[in-house]
């Protein structure tokens, strides 16, 4: 149906131009955008634009009462909501940083000449494909403070393991570590592609000049995988800032509110029926992602010019 509408408007335009015949009808019609644009516009753009208005209201889904910036004020007044904002930043930075560093190191290892390389690649990538909720439950069980496999193993070597997800100051970090465990495979694969596309001659030339392995890594690999680094940092940061599945599966934001992030706060406010407040949370989350990611992209692009 959408396609039909697009066609007819193209026809009208064509008739208008027909006498001059200056431009043929393009073989790449713009109406190809239309079906996707309708779905995307209605279910993504429209809600996004609407959120700017509804975040300023007390909203029941049927009635919206304008209350100005009250929702935002409340968001930054309630200590647990502020903690959600701080936790979001910690979680995003921690997961993105670790995925980038570990992903690069693993990629170097897995493109090198080692035994079991194929199997290792498979093992590292597999968790990416597994259900997040399932992974969350498994690690929740393994991180149990007394019975959990991790602490039992630590005890065996004489270490008194902490309450990974029961200790409020550790819960968020524990979940972030599981997130890294699950997601590092994707970063590794992207870095592997970057490393493989570096011409072997560069390594050869550097070796002839007497470069050590360490120098090869820092002076050849790291600068030349930049495009992959940019991709990994940006994707994992955007993902990490807006993600809450794993937190929800493992801690539900607890103990208390110690591992709540904005995305889980939004869900809680939604459940409680505070739709305006939940939507304000969405706008804040968008603002934070924009504030973090846009300068970063700008900085990455600028650096590219320098090189």
């Amino acid at each position: 149906m959408a396609a039909g509408v697009g066609l007819s408007s193209a026809d009208v335009r064509l008739q208008g131009r027909a006498p001059g015949r200056t431009r043929r009808r393009s073989p790449y019609p713009t109406w190809f955008f239309l079906p996707a644009a309708v779905i995307y516009g209605a279910l993504f753009l429209l809600p996004t634009v609407a959120s700017l208005w509804f975040s300023l209201t007390r909203w029941t889904l049927f009635e919206a009462e304008f209350i100005g910036f009250e929702n935002f004020r409340q968001f930054f007044r309630e200590p647990f909501l502020v903690q959600g904002v701080v936790n979001t930043l910690i979680y995003g930075a921690l997961t993105s940083g670790l995925k980038t560093v570990l992903g690069l190191l693993l990629a170097v290892l897995l493109t090198g000449n080692i035994l079991f390389r194929g199997t290792l690649r498979t093992l590292v990538f597999f968790p990416v494909l597994v259900s997040t909720i399932g992974v969350g439950f498994a690690f929740e069980a393994m991180m149990h403070p007394t019975k959990g496999v991790i602490n039992v193993a630590l005890e065996a070597v004489g270490i008194d393991g902490p309450g990974w997800i029961t200790n409020p100051s550790l819960a968020l970090v524990s979940v972030a570590l599981v997130d890294v465990w699950k997601g590092v495979g994707l970063a590794t694969v992207i870095f592997m592609a970057g490393i493989v596309s570096i011409p072997a001659d560069y390594y050869e030339a550097a070796r002839i000049d007497g470069a050590t392995r360490w120098q090869l890594f820092w002076r050849v690999t790291v600068p030349l995988v930049r495009p992959a680094t940019v991709t990994v940092v940006t994707l994992s940061l955007i993902g990490g800032l807006r993600y809450f599945e794993l937190i929800w599966a493992m801690t539900g934001g607890g103990p208390g509110f110690s591992s709540d992030v904005i995305a889980s706060v939004i869900y809680k406010q939604y459940q409680a029926g505070f739709y305006g407040l939940a939507t304000a949370g969405n706008v804040i989350l968008f603002g934070i992602i924009a504030l973090v990611v846009l300068p970063l992209t700008w900085w990455f692009n600028r650096r590219e010019v320098d090189l």
Binding site: P27, Y28, F32, I39, A42, T48, A50, L115, V135, V149
Partner: protein
């Protein structure tokens, strides 16, 4: 893949180094990446009392089959309904995504127009902006799509478009324009050029997208949680969540459920392992 192995010519032929590094890495990878899956599998076949200890002890009795039956029949065969719903959503959304994203990527790459800047900006916005949840529910309600399977399909399409368009656009750039021009000279209409000439040539990236998106949509938890509430609409990931409180004293059943939910991605992975990695990287780095 072959290029990877050919990359680093060895400096000296030290034979022991690759073996030692490989064996060491394998040992670490076993503990880090294999043990958690063994843990899941082991709990899933234990009886209730053994599983509640959450340890690696050998099960005192094997009851894989009984656990399997218990999980399947729980709450009037909810898991089977969930498999059905998840399959419908995944297949429907992926099919739509492939066609619509390829159409956008094709025209976006081929046609130079002022629209391109706007379209690209919207595509990138889709990657960055977190979906506004409650307003989306409001729109879905207005369209009569809230709590419906087709509503969920369209949501997955809307959220998956950006990534798919970028991947297609990058890949279409590698297909010579002469191919479509030849078809146009032969009198093919735009739709014919697209469906008969271009779409078949996009096969490699299409396979990648089918794999990546179907796993993402099948594993999705957040979106069905928001947009598809209701018992009859349950999806696979939500069964896990729904059973969590019920199974809190029956860890064996919880982990049997985890195991069952992991099987479809595992099958996809076994068949498309190389394809996933190759296609993913092609799009991601060129991006």
């Amino acid at each position: 893949m072959t290029a990877m192995s050919a990359r680093r010519p060895r400096r000296r032929p030290t034979k022991w180094r690759p073996i030692v590094t490989g064996a060491l890495a394998m040992a670490v990878a076993f503990v880090v990446f294999v043990v958690p899956f063994l843990f899941i599998a082991l709990q899933a076949v234990k009886n209730r009392r053994d599983a509640s200890r959450l340890n690696f002890a050998w099960p005192s009795e094997w009851q894989a089959w009984q656990n399997f039956r218990d999980v399947i029949s729980e709450r009037n065969y909810m898991l089977l309904l969930a498999y059905f719903n998840s399959t419908v959503i995944t297949v429907g959304a992926v099919a739509l995504l492939i066609v619509l994203a390829a159409m956008v990527g094709y025209v976006l790459q081929r046609r130079r127009s002022r629209l391109n800047g706007i379209v690209m900006a919207l595509v990138l916005a889709g990657l960055m902006i977190p979906p506004a949840v409650v307003p989306t529910i409001w729109v879905l309600q207005g369209l009569g799509l809230f709590k419906t399977i087709h509503g969920m399909i369209l949501i997955q399409v809307a959220y998956g478009l950006s990534f798919s368009v970028l991947l297609y656009r990058a890949f279409i750039a590698t297909i010579p324009k002469e191919l479509d021009e030849a078809a146009i000279i032969d009198g093919a209409k735009p739709l014919q050029v697209f469906f008969r000439v271009i779409l078949p040539l996009l096969r490699p990236v299409t396979v990648t997208l089918i794999v990546v998106q179907s796993i993402a949509i099948f594993n999705d938890f957040t979106n069905p949680l928001y947009y598809l509430p209701g018992r009859e609409n349950v999806t696979v990931q939500l069964t896990l969540y729904n059973f969590q409180s019920q199974f809190s004293s029956q860890m064996n059943l919880l982990f049997m459920n985890v195991l069952l939910v992991t099987i479809p991605p595992l099958i996809v992975f076994i068949f498309f392992n190389r394809q996933i990695v190759a296609g993913m990287t092609a799009g991601a780095v060129k991006g």
